[in-house]
């Protein structure tokens, strides 16, 4: 037995590990993505003051604290049956779109960008942020970095801190925006649109290269699964609110439901070899780690959202969306690497929405709080995290404390499909015991598309997911080491 262990030690909302097992012939028998991470937030919630959940749950993930902050805020509104004033909803949505743009931009420019801008086969030493500077020009890269800083500062302006914001309360937000704030945010909106434009232009240039289109639409990175995302009343992509829509692998509507019914549609499976629960469609059932119409596996995140919606909510994003599907040969698209394209389409929508909201006269209204009047009971909230659908479900006891919590986190929704992607890449690249050096980057690209990890952030320093594959013989001796570290 030959065991290949890839220990990327990158963040999949925790640390992650890939183990690949070869058979006697040296072909891949199985490959596993393991998540060795558990902190027990659903138990931590029990006994807490409900309003504290908006500050406790962001600590699940310091990369997307805003997603938990907002899902929690919405679950709390529901728990107390309180409707926030319209300005408060707009402030939340504004902050949330700023976060979405900032988070997506980091992934596109820094983590995923080098693979395509510099090239998937370029020397590793060039395939990083320094290579990006050479290719795009230092001036462009500097603007990108400055805009990210501007977006982070805007998050702090609205929510106190970019990491672990404090503004959300049941019934609204803790702070209204002033006219001074709005002036500042107008310049953020302009910079945001420019950032999205830069990404889109770059993407269009890349897609002119037939080789890349072939790579994206090749047979290594494709799984026919169900797709899920929030849509508004016109079935347009929405990050902050709406109904959850699921389409089947043919693109037909499988379900459209209010988050209060999520337990009828979403279930979770437990495997003994990972600490992450794996979501699937209860209505289709768990058939193991396989794709196809009979298997309830889901994809969420940018690709899940675009496939599950009928269109985008803003004009320029809609144009980019139409171009994406025409380039990829129709909808839905099952190509995992299309996540990168969908992410840019979403950046455009987020930027356009930021501008709309900042220009909305109501955004500076001082009326940002509704005070709860009823006792807390059951509250369920949903938002689209950058990485996919995120659901918070709380129940309160007779003293008004949380007695039960259930959290469906974006990565849980995607983790089964990620396992498929890794196994498929491994199976296609390792044959007869010959491990191709290209495996490393191909495997990186298989899970990087989902943006599952914190590596995106720290990646800015070196521009690659660090991977090391150790190939051991049956006695555990290392017979070959492949690494992407020079």
């Amino acid at each position: 037995m030959v065991v290949v262990t890839i220990n990327p030690i990158t963040r999949l909302e925790g640390h992650g590990k890939i183990s690949i097992f070869l058979d006697e012939k040296g072909d891949v028998k199985r490959a596993f993505l393991q998540i060795p991470e558990l902190r027990g937030f659903e138990k931590i919630a029990i006994g807490r003051h409900p309003e504290d959940m908006a500050q406790i749950t962001p600590r699940i993930c310091g990369v997307c604290p805003w997603a938990h902050h907002m899902a929690s805020a919405k679950a709390l509104d529901d728990l107390y049956k309180v409707k926030p004033p319209s300005a408060a909803v707009k402030i939340r949505e504004l902050a949330y779109n700023i976060f979405m743009l900032e988070d997506h931009a980091l992934h596109f420019f820094v983590l995923a960008g080098p693979d395509f801008v510099i090239g998937p086969r370029a020397p590793r030493a060039e395939r990083n942020v320094i290579g990006m500077m050479k290719k795009l020009g230092a001036e462009t890269v500097k603007r990108i970095v400055l805009t990210r800083k501007k977006l982070r500062d805007a998050e702090a302006l609205i929510g106190g801190k970019p990491v672990h914001p404090v503004m959300a309360l049941p019934g609204g937000v803790s702070k209204p925006l002033t006219e001074d704030d709005r002036r500042e945010l107008l310049s953020v909106a302009a910079a945001g649109l420019e950032l999205a434009d830069t990404a889109y232009k770059l993407l269009k240039d890349l897609l002119r290269n037939e080789e890349y289109v072939k790579l994206i639409t090749g047979d290594i990175y494709v799984h026919e699964t169900y797709y899920m995302g929030l849509v508004d009343d016109k079935n347009r992509v929405n990050f902050y609110d709406g109904k959850i829509r699921v389409v089947d692998p043919k693109g037909r509507e499988h379900a459209k439901f209010d988050v209060h019914d999520y337990l009828k549609y979403i279930a979770e499976h437990v495997e003994p070899w990972t600490y992450a629960r794996m979501s699937y469609l209860r209505t289709v059932g768990w058939k193991g780690l396989v794709d196809g119409e009979d298997s309830g596996l889901l994809a969420v995140g940018p690709l899940g959202r675009l496939n599950a919606a009928d269109c985008m909510a803003t004009p320029r994003a809609q144009a980019a969306y139409e171009e994406m599907y025409s380039t990829l040969g129709g909808k839905p698209t099952h190509y995992t690497l299309a996540y990168h394209i969908a992410r840019v389409v979403e950046m455009i929508q987020a930027a356009e929405r930021i501008k709309e909201l900042v220009e909305d006269p109501e955004i500076t209204s001082p009326d940002v709080r509704s005070l709860p009047t009823s006792a807390p009971d059951v509250g369920i909230g949903v938002v689209e995290a950058p990485r996919g659908t995120l659901i918070h479900h709380y129940e309160a006891d007779e003293r008004g404390l949380i007695k039960k919590a259930n959290l469906i986190v974006a990565t849980q929704n995607n983790v089964a499909r990620m396992c498929l992607s890794i196994e498929k890449a491994a199976k296609m690249l390792i044959k007869g015991g010959a491990v191709d050096d290209g495996l490393l980057n191909m495997v990186e690209m298989a899970f990087r598309a989902y943006d599952p990890c914190f590596a995106c952030a720290t990646h800015s320093i070196i521009g690659r997911v660090p991977l090391k594959i150790e190939i051991r013989d049956h006695e555990g001796r290392i017979i070959k080491v492949i690494t992407n570290v020079d």
């Binding site: 220990n7 963040r11 097992f21 027990g40 500050q55 672990h164 049941p170 005070l371 952030a457 070196i462």
Partner: protein, 328 residues
């Protein structure tokens, strides 16, 4: 102790959210300056150094190890012990490594009850075979290993000897920079010092401080969602349980500037062993009621006292592990 010109630095994370790494990335331009001054020998999230690389170093060869996150898995314990041996200075970075942090609230429950809820009882879970994640799983292809989930979460100082602490959830860029500057200056403070933050309470530097009455007298505490406070007046004086008076300053009052009270993430002031006990004693001292009934009324809205005063520091409470919640 004088540190060499090019300082060898290691970073490691345990049971953390990644916010501490984001905090380092948020140094922005300053990060590049820091990176010029140091030689990173271990940072598994960003650079591909393996434990074997650390094992190969001589004892004490790393100048400073920054470690964030609480200790929750067997793997964490192993790595931090190794890093301790290889490092001259160990810095517990961020609330979780410093005091236990929010994930430390899980210590109110046993390990078994956490596993039981997460993998068996959570309403979305379908698990008829009652499968739980385990350390070794035999599959038809081979054995898969997972690290062990420990009985409780511990802050770093309960597992290895810690030299310095950097507070905050997460530490702010200013605090991080100041801490790094102190370490690089070679003029090291006494062991156990909290770096980068203030020696004074947050309350002393709070922008609302001048509106704080000389003598605080709270008839009844109030919860943040139940009223709209005057943003120009001391939040504590308005009845919000703001822990600014007992919490170390240095955070620039970011939460208070967003009209929300301090929840204590920077931890206690010097010479305070137990943050929660200090906070409780402070709360008791400002209640303006004479009899038991009155005190009950004052504290009435604060039902989850543990979650208020130990939000970031439960595992550092000297009573840790002695009280477990009854299963209901």
């Amino acid at each position: 102790m004088n540190l060499p010109a090019k300082v060898k630095v290691a970073f490691y994370w345990n049971a953390s959210c990644g916010g501490c790494e984001e905090a380092i990335v948020d140094l922005g331009e300053d990060l590049f300056k820091v990176l010029e001054a140091v030689d990173i020998v271990f940072w598994p999230v960003a650079l591909d150094f393996k434990l074997e690389d650390v094992e190969r170093l001589s004892d004490g060869e790393i100048d400073v190890a920054f470690i964030n996150g609480g200790i929750r898995f067997s793997e964490h314990e192993k790595v931090v012990k190794l890093l301790r041996r290889k490092s001259k200075i160990v810095v517990a970075y961020g609330s979780c490594a410093h005091l236990g942090g929010i994930p430390g609230l899980a210590n109110l429950w046993t390990k078994a009850s956490i596993m039981d809820y997460v993998y068996l009882k959570a309403p979305s879970v379908v698990n008829e075979s009652k499968t739980l994640p385990k350390e070794i799983t035999q599959t038809d292809a081979g054995d898969l290993e997972l690290p062990a989930f420990l009985d409780a979460l511990k802050p770093l100082g309960q597992v290895i000897d810690v030299d310095y602490y950097v507070p905050g959830c997460p530490p702010t860029p200013n605090v991080t920079l100041k801490a790094i500057e102190t370490l690089l200056s070679g003029k090291l403070p006494p062991k156990g010092a909290v770096l980068g933050a203030s020696a004074r309470a947050l309350c002393d530097t709070c922008p609302l401080n001048e509106t704080k009455p000389e003598k605080l007298a709270i008839k009844e505490f109030r919860r943040p969602h139940t009223f709209i406070p005057d943003p120009k007046k001391c939040l504590l004086a308005q009845g919000l349980l703001c822990l600014g008076p007992v919490t170390r300053g240095g955070c620039e009052a970011k939460c208070i500037k967003a009209n929300m009270p301090c929840t204590g993430c920077f931890g206690p002031l010097d010479n305070v062993l137990d943050f929660g006990a200090r906070a409780l004693s402070f709360i008791a001292s400002i209640i303006d009621q004479r009899d038991e009934e009155g005190i009950k009324k004052a504290l009435g809205p604060i039902i989850d006292l543990v979650g208020q005063v130990y939000k970031f520091s439960l595992p550092s409470c000297p009573l840790r592990g002695l009280i477990k919640r009854k299963e209901v």
